[in-house]
């Protein structure tokens, strides 16, 4: 009984983590069609922003939820103005450019913070379930992911800005004809996507030992989740994160964490063979 509760928490946590690490990429790649290979490095910078702010005495929650997303969002803004805006619609070129950016960011982080492991401890204590101890921070991540999804849904569906952004992504020429500046809208959307990546890196920072190359660990999972999700932004994110997260944890508990990761990637391959356009090309059609 206790164990099944622990497994349930770990499953929800795995799904929440996938949602979190993929949300920024879902906006940048899923919506804007920019293959952002520097996504992992945006997360890494979010982590460093948090640790730096905490070391300066800022409250850890403020650092994670406000400072890190804004800092990384601003870096994203700079990147968009200098590099990405020249490359919209050129899928392969964005890949090359962002790969270069990712190397640049790893190099910069190494110069600034050194190539050593840093970290902060989790702000939430563990608690007991029967005979088991559970990491209390897992619940925080689950809650953050739910709020993130709700927030994205509210902005994209409920606000005029979200509507304009979605419209521009579909037909920027029409948006332009209606008097909106696609250039500005792309810029703002890229800012939001980067900020989401920064948030993910920040929230995960207390769980890991951070090094400048930490981003690499997330990039594959983030891309797989977004690609397998398919055309619908949020429904795709939730459905693929849920399937991968649950399968990963089932195998991790039944066999070992390594087999859990293997199962995740095998599932991804099978899923993309059966549904090359992603889950939401067959289910939840027409959803956001």
């Amino acid at each position: 009984m206790d164990l099944s509760f622990v497994i349930l928490v770990e499953m929800l946590y795995a799904v929440a983590t996938l949602v979190l690490i993929s949300a920024g990429l879902a906006v940048v790649f899923g919506m804007m069609k920019v293959i952002n290979l520097a996504h992992g490095e945006f997360m890494m910078m979010g982590g460093y922003a948090t640790i730096t702010a905490v070391n300066f005495g800022v409250n850890i929650f403020v650092a994670m939820l406000i400072i890190a997303p804004i800092a990384v969002g601003l870096i994203g803004l700079l990147v968009e103005r200098l590099v990405i805006r020249h490359l919209y619609g050129r899928l392969i070129d964005t890949m090359l450019a962002t790969w270069g950016l990712s190397l640049l960011f790893v190099g910069l982080a190494t110069m600034i913070f050194g190539n050593t492991t840093t970290g902060i401890s989790t702000p939430i204590p563990g608690f007991t379930v029967g005979n088991y101890q559970v990491n209390g921070y897992n619940f925080f991540i689950i809650v953050i992911s739910i709020m993130l999804i709700a927030g994205m849904l509210a902005v994209l569906k409920g606000t005029r800005a979200g509507l304009i952004a979605r419209g521009t992504m579909q037909r920027s020429d029409m948006a332009s004809a209606l008097g909106y500046s696609p250039d500005r809208i792309y810029m703002a959307t890229f800012f939001c996507g980067s900020a989401l990546s920064g948030l993910a890196g920040a929230v995960l920072a207390p769980l890991v030992g951070l090094v400048p190359t930490s981003g690499v660990a997330y990039i594959a999972k983030a891309f797989i989740t977004v690609v397998a999700g398919g055309p619908a932004l949020i429904a795709g994110l939730i459905s693929s994160a849920a399937s991968f997260g649950i399968i990963n944890q089932v195998f991790a508990f039944a066999v070992s964490p390594v087999i859990g990761d293997v199962a995740l990637f095998v599932t991804a391959i099978v899923l993309l063979r059966l549904m090359p356009q992603g889950i939401t090309s067959r289910f939840f059609k027409g959803k956001l």
């Binding site: 497994i7 770990e10 492991t117």
Partner: protein, 408 residues
């Protein structure tokens, strides 16, 4: 000067004669003695390599201020291998062919050692590998002064079991070091009347240990031993503490702290982890105090000193002592001097060369991490590398050139 054939010939002849001069001088033994060093002072392993480089330079500087060796100065020829295994072979060849060094100290990962060991053996260049490792190298051209599993695990396991209980769970890094060490842990747990209730191997990039921590709880062991390696694996100690397990099941490790990882963890996360090494900054001996003062004078503070930096320092000091005793920089003369069972007093205590294996007999300290330091609980003096001794006898087989996988 106008450039005609005669002038050109004259000047080039003079130039090449000049270029030959230092070599002639060196053969007479008047130039500096060259110490080659290959270490990763940048890239992913620089947390290990940079302090090792600092330690080597400190040792050489001290030798030179003390008048050098055999009346000659020691010159460092160092290359940064940038955490790239391919560069090791390249620089080892440059050190032997172009620089023609008298000795090479260096190599960090076991892979890097194996990349250069044969090159140095073929070119008859004496080699010192000053890092703790999985054991088993048997080669008369190499001297190794890091602790082997028998010196470390044999001490750590009974101590940790006495502090907890007989049921042990192992989580290890998934490559040869982790597998070999896990084998040794199983061996010594069973030899001490204990039982292994679970073993997990984790790839070096795993950084989420939720399910592992839950499986450990399901097995409910009395003790967890964690030979984990690298930055991603540091997350385990953090997540272990975050789930509140730290106060429930004691933890021991064979790697934690080698790269000063215990200074990254907060005291709440690190306190109480049991380890066993040759060196701790908290060693309260005159040798260590003076070493730390000299290090501070050279580098400002003692933040960077760690286990294998001290090993590297002791390696250079051992070599220097052997040169003095041999009275020559001839490779065989130095090897024979070392094989007399030469001893030095290093920051971590007495280090004696074991003639049979070319490994080291040294003190091992049982320690506990406390307030981001390593508190020495018990010192086990002058432990023999019995695991290597069981397979390697260079006295009987001087031409041996193998890394034995030690059958447990």
């Amino acid at each position: 000067m106008s450039l005609n054939r005669r002038n050109l010939l004259k000047s080039t002849a003079a130039l090449s004669a000049a270029a030959m001069m230092p070599k002639v001088l060196m053969a007479d033994g008047h130039g500096p003695i060259k110490l080659g060093s290959v270490l990763d002072t940048s890239g992913g392993f620089d947390a290990y390599g940079r302090p090792m480089d600092m330690a080597m330079r400190l040792a050489v500087e001290e030798i030179n201020t003390g008048g050098g060796l055999l009346g000659r100065e020691v010159e460092v020829v160092a290359y940064d291998t940038q955490s790239d295994m391919a560069l090791y072979t390249q620089y080892a060849q440059r050190l032997t062919r172009q620089d023609q060094v008298d000795v090479v100290h260096g190599g960090i990962l076991s892979a890097s050692r194996e990349a250069i060991r044969q090159t140095l053996r073929r070119s008859e260049t004496l080699y010192f590998y000053n890092v703790l490792y999985e054991g088993g190298v048997c080669d008369r051209n190499i001297f190794i002064n890091g602790v082997t599993p028998a010196q470390q695990v044999e001490a750590l396991v009974p101590h940790a079991m006495a502090n907890s209980g007989p049921r042990v769970y192992v989580i290890a890094a998934d490559y040869n070091y982790g597998h070999n060490t896990a084998g040794w842990i199983r061996h010594y747990v069973e030899a001490n009347g204990g039982e292994i209730v679970g073993i997990d191997f984790l790839p070096l990039d795993v950084n989420d240990f939720g399910s592992t921590i839950a499986s450990i709880q399901t097995a409910s062991p009395d003790l967890v031993i964690a030979p984990l390696v690298g930055g991603a694996h540091l997350s385990f100690f953090r997540q272990w503490a975050a789930s509140g397990m730290k106060d429930r099941i004691p933890l021991a490790s064979t790697t934690m702290g080698v790269g000063n990882e215990h200074k990254v963890l907060t005291p709440e996360e690190g306190d109480g982890i049991m380890v066993a090494y040759n060196y701790s900054q908290e060693l309260d001996t005159p040798n260590n105090t003076s070493f730390k003062e000299r290090w501070t004078a050279a580098y400002g503070n003692t933040d960077d000193i760690h286990e294998i930096a001290v090993s590297n320092y002791q390696g250079v000091v051992t070599w220097a002592e052997a040169v003095r005793q041999a009275g020559s920089i001839d490779r065989m003369a130095i090897i024979e001097a070392l094989e007399t069972g030469l001893s030095i007093e290093g920051p971590a205590g007495t280090v004696t060369v074991d003639p049979q294996t070319h490994h080291a007999i040294l003190d091992v300290h049982l320690m506990e991490i406390r307030d981001q330091g390593m508190q020495v609980i018990e010192t086990l003096p002058q432990r023999q590398p019995v695991d290597v001794q069981a397979v390697c006898d260079l006295g009987a087989n001087p031409d041996d050139n193998t890394q034995y996988e030690i059958e447990i």
